[in-house]
Symmetry: C2
Subunit: 333 residues, 2 copies
């Protein structure tokens, strides 16, 4: 028997830090049923005054760089200091077992049983934009539930790195010593967008290579355009197997927050993110209203084929889509 | 007395390489009058079979790096080899004297009087997306008119670099020796997207610093993820005052074209660009149809203010815009 939770029960439960209610609220936000969409929107509005007080940290890097192990170590360190840590992720790939929390719980076995930690897998969906938007709302729900550190992990290859930048206050890029082919698959441009570079797995025989890589990245970052927020991107060597190595990360993030709060860029970045989400949200809503029916989608596919084979110009293809909408009495274009 | 040019006169004139007709066609494409929009769309379709045979080269870098002087030297070198060179630009800033070709002609005095060169300033407009889209169509018109090298210069600071990547086959990033503060204003991430880095103004007393910078950039680029197209980004020192220095650029671009043509990435990149323009074009068309009226714009401004001050969630703001459209009988949402 499914018990209906009222809007105020959701709100009170979340603010009281009730895990079960939080989980259900996230499921509500991720729902695509029209009625639940409306309910979710109301809920987000109600909890809005309780949001924004966390630090949102993106963790990115190629598969195999050790993101999960890092998050487990880092998360445990933070919870041991009394912090409440939520772990969310963005995974636009279809390969992963969606909706199952089992994968994450297995990957982060110790963190998942911590009272002060909350792990939730990536929202499902086919479009990165939609997935990222849901993750964004999940961040707000976790903040309202009292989590003060939100870790957002990118899972897919090459697509989700830009989205994480749009969601986070601070982006940590994990790298391996060696570079070159190990970097295959990471989105080009992300290195210049990272707020910190950490070379992971620098232990045992890797120490020498790690230190060489550190120096090389420091020199390379020096050639990048300076950040508007005056932050100088640090490079560190860490080992997720060694708690000491990890312990340098949190103080650096605190320094970042202090600097960017004092010069106004912390708040400015969040405001710009919100306005950008607003514009993207409108575009998505218009597009999903007008384009997500079968006949328009099939028309778009045909036009894409015609563009690819040089049979029609992009301009005419766009006109053709718009004419199609105009001729449909429903849309009144 | 204004003489009307028919659609077939446009087409024949452009294909015959008639400069006056080409200029008028570009003015037509840049027009925002509904009837002319339709005419422009037809024209682009008609010339489509004659397009695509040029190499589209983006030239980017901070103001003061010497883009115009470089383009003049490079352009003159190409025309002296019998190539036909068109110079277009993207300038989303409002500071420049729009519609006047005077600025460009003054900046590139010798190139502007070359028979085989054609210089056209940036289309006017407030939105980068719209400006870039018009530049894109201008590329097609110039190609149909027989220009085999299209140089696209970014003029604004920090915004147009990404757009140029979406328009071009090859992006040349001009840098100065020294880096650091000189990089202020360039869009972060562009260094990783460049297909070649050229350190400009390496002459006289700058030679030593130029060579040090070259080595540093070479090492830094080595740390970037490899390109899908297998291209290894070269770093060169050049001097726009010295024709010899410039002469290394064209053979490198030829090498790039040869490699990427043979592995299919040249064509693949253009196809992906076209599909991306198609999707952006639909979004822009929907948005301009539904959102570009005064009352919706003022509603959006109010909502942006409410978002910035934390009074409303992004989700609710999006819903509010969509509800507004739904209630208007005109749209039939």
């Amino acid at each position: 028997m499914k018990k209906n939770i009222s809007s105020s029960e959701y709100k009170e439960g979340i603010i009281a830090g009730d895990r079960m209610i939080l989980s259900k609220a996230i499921t509500l936000v991720e729902s695509s049923l029209p009625y639940e969409k409306f309910e979710a929107s109301e809920l987000i509005d109600q909890i809005l005054p309780y949001t924004g007080r966390s630090i949102r940290i993106g963790i990115t890097g190629v598969p195999g760089v050790g993101k999960s192990t890092f998050i487990e170590s880092f998360g445990l360190q933070l919870t041991s200091q009394g912090r409440k840590v939520a772990v969310l992720s963005i995974d636009p790939s279809s390969s992963r077992n969606k909706g199952s929390i089992l994968g994450d719980k297995t990957r982060m076995g110790k963190l998942s049983i911590e009272t002060n930690a909350f792990i939730r897998p990536s929202p499902s969906g086919n479009q990165l934009g939609g997935i990222a938007q849901k993750t964004r709302e999940n961040i707000l729900l976790c903040e309202a539930a009292g989590f003060d550190v939100i870790l957002i992990e990118t899972v897919g290859v090459g697509q989700s790195e830009t989205a994480v930048k749009e969601l986070c206050d601070f982006v940590l890029l994990l790298m391996l010593a060696g570079g070159g082919d190990e970097l295959q698959g990471i989105k080009r441009g992300i290195m210049e967008l990272a707020d910190m570079v950490a070379i992971n797995k620098v232990d045992g025989e890797n120490v020498k290579a790690g230190n060489i890589a550190k120096k090389a990245y420091q020199q390379a970052l020096h050639l990048f355009p300076p950040n508007d927020n005056k932050w100088v991107v640090p490079v560190a060597t860490i080992s997720s197997l060694d708690a000491d190595g990890i312990s340098i990360i949190w103080p650096i993030i605190q320094e970042f927050k202090k600097l960017t709060t004092s010069n106004g860029h912390f708040e400015k970045n969040r405001q710009e993110q919100n306005l950008s989400w607003f514009r993207t949200g409108i575009d998505q809503a218009l597009s999903s209203h007008f384009l997500e029916n079968e006949s328009t989608q099939s028309k778009i596919s045909d036009l894409e084929e015609a563009i690819s084979t040089g049979k029609i110009s992009v301009k005419s293809a766009v006109n053709s889509v718009m004419d199609g909408l105009r001729n449909s009495t429903q849309t009144g274009l």
